[in-house]
């Protein structure tokens, strides 16, 4: 890490740079390139730790990563500044796109093109589960949990929040690390 921690301004600009570079995809790769290689704010190891934390906790991974970087140097205010840098430009563009959409989506030509785009987007959504299926393939309990969650939501129409609140603790009990001794239950 640098001897001089980045200021709020630098955090904002750095994240802005990540967001602008990543137009067209590869947010994670750009984030690593700029934060680790160009600016030297974090070592590669620290960056990977950040990714682990970002994936673990609720929230979009890349946004959590920005929060991690900001918080690492400047606490809460740093986190908010980094978040703003990451989101301001792409989000404002998206809002403009949204305004255009609500103004013009009733035009037949627009609607026809969107019908096609929606089909592709549905395919992307469909691939999300398969993408992480591999890592659970050898764990029958995990597959059972996944299947039960799926059935509860798809066929019994249970909502996400109760499903997570019920299944989450049960799964945590099952996966409680046994080797490290039974942890104290507060």
């Amino acid at each position: 890490m640098n001897e001089q921690p980045p200021s709020h301004r630098e955090l904002f600009i750095g994240m802005l740079q990540v967001a602008l570079s990543a137009f067209g995809g590869g947010l994670s790769a750009w984030s690593q390139r700029i934060v680790v290689e160009q600016r030297g704010w974090l070592s590669n190891e620290e960056f990977l730790t950040g990714l682990t934390v970002a994936r673990l906790f609720p929230g979009p991974n890349q946004i959590n990563m920005a929060v991690y970087i900001g918080a690492a140097f400047r606490g809460l205010s740093g986190a908010l500044v980094a978040l703003a840098g990451m989101l301001l430009v792409p989000f404002s563009l998206l809002m403009l796109l949204g305004v255009a959409y609500f103004s013009f989506h009733t035009l037949p030509a627009v609607d026809r093109v969107l019908a096609g785009v929606v089909a592709a987007a549905a395919g992307m959504a469909l691939s999300m589960g398969f993408k992480i299926l591999d890592q659970y393939w050898k764990d029958p309990v995990a597959l059972l949990l996944a299947a039960a969650t799926f059935v509860a939501m798809e066929f019994f129409h249970l909502r996400l929040v109760p499903v997570v609140l019920i299944a989450g603790p049960l799964a945590m009990v099952w996966y409680w690390p046994r080797s490290s001794g039974s942890g104290s239950q507060p």
């Binding site: 067209g24 929606v118 089909a119």
Partner: protein, 205 residues
Amino acid sequence: MIVPPVLVAVVESARCSPTSLTDLGHLLQVLGTFLGLSLFSLGGGNTLLSEYQHLSVDQFCWLTSSQFADLYALAEAAPGPSSMLVGLLGLGAAWPEGPWWALLSGYGAELAILLPSTLVMVLACLSWNRLKDSPWRIAFERGLGPITLGILFQVGLKILHTADTNAAGVVVSLVVCVLMLRTRISPLWFMACAGVLGGLGVINR
């Protein structure tokens, strides 16, 4: 790995009557909704997609089903994290009140969905050294993973169902799914090609 063609024939729930709220009432409803969901955005946020659909289409009638599908596609196509969809939902919720109010609602919705998870993330960063080897952390990570997996499959089907395209569209969805898994082609290409197919009338809904 073949996805069974959507067996779900869940009939579109009868159109709910649009909520009649004052401008401010709408805004508060939007903010409250997303504040409450924030901490349930597991697996990078995609687990919430079904919830978003349920709230904005079935429960609050902010959007029609196909509008939701359109906004999801826009958020996927636009640069930046796809969780920015929430901003579009907020925008749509307040659109009847005019574009400026809608923009306020859009920015508010995005802040609301990000604020709680951001605060938790900051706490996590500050205490990571203690959390790292805690059995709670390990159990949380291992336990929530499979649940996320189940949710993501449900979300995938839900979006496919919401897209509600003709047979050609479903075929395109399945092909895109396979290509997403087997290749590293940018999804923007898939959207562009499918958009052309839509424009030509091959895919419709």
